[in-house]
């Protein structure tokens, strides 16, 4: 058995084992009768997204539903922006310290730290910081920022390692200090890729920020969850469409910015 066949065989055995451990049956992959009805209700609401509250009992003076959608989306963006800013401020220096330009006694501890930061999911960090700091915006922002800074640092270090270091070494040869040679000789060349990746991570941060709503923060996820629990599927679809629009807008915007960086 050659290496490729044995790897495929091992993967097949692992898959079988997982199914057996989870007691999965093929029929479990299809909805139950009640579940099918919920799915039908949910998907049929896709054509009729809500433009007003679905509930008949709306408190007097409550702002219009679409206003709430706008506010929820904005709060989602605020959390993502604050977290991503912190992630860039922490992640870019860490990516430099984790690159091969730095001696191994610095690089290896930094890479271990970065590994630790990114191996714990943002929602788990959120649980930890909610307990440690309490329910405030700071806890959510830090929870998002830690794994994002870690991922940015890891990918950033790899990008820096792949960047041509000719200009860096030429500057060092003129007597330029390491930090300045890094800032002027290496960073500008890696910036388009780093910026492109940071924009992609910002899109991810928007999604994570929405999910923070499940912890009680008033981002899109908070309203989405309550609409879903109240079986207000048309409202759910309004949130989902607003979310898709936001992500598409960000993608177009970041694409434009990336082109400007590269041009």
């Amino acid at each position: 058995m050659n290496h490729r066949t044995s790897t495929l065989f091992a993967l097949f055995i692992a898959a079988l084992w997982a199914w057996w451990e989870l007691d999965l049956k093929f029929v479990d992959l299809f909805p139950t009768k009640g579940g099918a009805q919920i799915a039908r209700d949910f998907f049929s609401a896709a054509w009729r997204p809500a433009i007003d509250y679905q509930s008949e009992f709306v408190p007097q003076g409550a702002p219009p539903f679409l206003w709430i959608v706008l506010q929820g989306m904005l709060r989602t963006i605020y959390f993502a922006t604050a977290a991503m800013t912190l992630a860039v401020v922490v992640g870019v220096p860490l990516s430099a310290l984790g690159s091969r330009l730095v001696p191994s006694w610095v690089r290896i501890p930094v890479r271990i730290l970065v590994g630790g930061m990114r191996s714990v999911h943002e929602l788990l960090w959120a649980i930890f910081f909610l307990a440690a700091i309490g329910f405030n915006s700071g806890a959510a922002v830090i929870a998002l920022a830690i794994p994002y800074a870690g991922t940015l640092a890891k990918i950033g270090a790899e990008m820096l390692d792949e960047t041509s270091d000719r200009a860096y070494h030429a500057m060092r040869g003129l007597g330029t200090g390491k930090l300045m040679a890094f800032i002027a000789g290496l960073l500008p060349q890696a910036t388009p890729d780093l910026a492109g990746y940071a924009f992609y991570r910002f899109e991810c941060a928007i999604r994570s920020s929405a999910v923070l709503g499940f912890f009680g923060y008033e981002t899109a996820g908070y309203y989405l969850k309550s609409s879903f629990e109240n079986l207000h599927y048309q409202e759910v679809w309004t949130w989902l469409y607003a979310f898709v629009l936001l992500v598409l807008f960000l993608e177009a915007w970041s694409g434009q910015l990336r082109r400007r960086f590269v041009a």
């Binding site: 000719r166 030429a170 500057m171 330029t176 300045m180 002027a184 500008p188 060349q189 910036t191 388009p192």
Partner: protein, 245 residues
């Protein structure tokens, strides 16, 4: 260079090597690939330390220099790399101001990179004008032709205000006509600024045409060190043919 030795891996590149270059002198280093021309230039610039012996720059010694002194010594030697070693997606002006980073503190260097003073910009412009690309000051380097990029590399070295200018195969990948222009330009600016100039070259004809002193190097040894008129054809044939043995 006094009794300099250098080993790379298992190969002895130089052993007990001596070479003296006077201030303001223009020297061409010729020899086949692997002769040690690049290593010699890099040692002269303080880029690689010799294992024994010393390299003196005026009265200053590379061997006994502290790290700080070494930085300041390096800042006195301009180096033009074969592949220019410029930052491709930065503007010409930003690449040139980097020439002086070795003499500047971090904040001063950052300022020169991000927002150079009017005085700096004028100085850069004058140098660019001198090499005929004054209109390219705010162009991105990767939008320039190979010849223009080479001029940017020369201006970066001049902006450094060095005492000596070292160039490693500056015409290795350009056509013969442009090669003459580049070497002509290098020797002209070196003369104007009273700089010592040491250039490694493959093209022996260029070396003889432009340089008053030609040093032939093979396997880390000086085969000849003479004025072009004193060079014998036999010496040149020996320099290149022995390598094929």
């Amino acid at each position: 260079m006094q009794s300099v030795s250098l080993q790379r891996g298992d190969t002895k590149v130089f052993q007990d090597f001596n070479l003296q270059v006077q201030h303001g002198e223009q020297v061409a280093l010729v020899g086949p690939s692997g002769a040690g021309k690049t290593s010699l230039l890099r040692m002269m610039a303080g880029g690689i330390p010799s294992e024994s012996g010393d390299i003196l720059h005026g009265d200053a010694s590379f061997a006994s220099a502290t790290p700080k002194e070494l930085r300041s010594l390096r800042a006195r030697v301009g180096f033009i790399h074969q592949d220019h070693a410029l930052v491709p997606n930065l503007r010409v002006c930003s690449n040139i101001v980097a020439g002086r980073f070795g003499r500047q503190g971090l904040l001063q260097a950052l300022r020169a990179l991000i927002a150079p003073t009017q005085e700096t910009r004028l100085e850069v412009l004058q140098l660019l004008d001198q090499v005929g690309i004054g209109d390219k000051m705010y162009h991105r380097v990767d939008r320039l032709s190979g010849g223009e990029q080479q001029r940017v590399a020369i201006v970066r070295a001049l902006f450094q205000k060095p005492d000596a200018l070292l160039a490693d195969e500056p015409v290795a990948s350009v056509d013969p006509e442009r090669a003459r222009d580049v070497i002509g330009l290098l020797t002209k600016v070196a003369q104007e600024y009273n700089l010592t100039l040491v250039v490694s070259l493959h093209d022996i004809a260029l070396a003889r045409e432009f340089f008053p002193r030609v040093v032939g190097l093979r396997q880390g040894k000086i085969m000849f060190d003479a004025a072009p008129l004193d060079l014998q054809e036999g010496q040149l044939q020996e320099l290149y043919s022995i390598q094929n043995k």
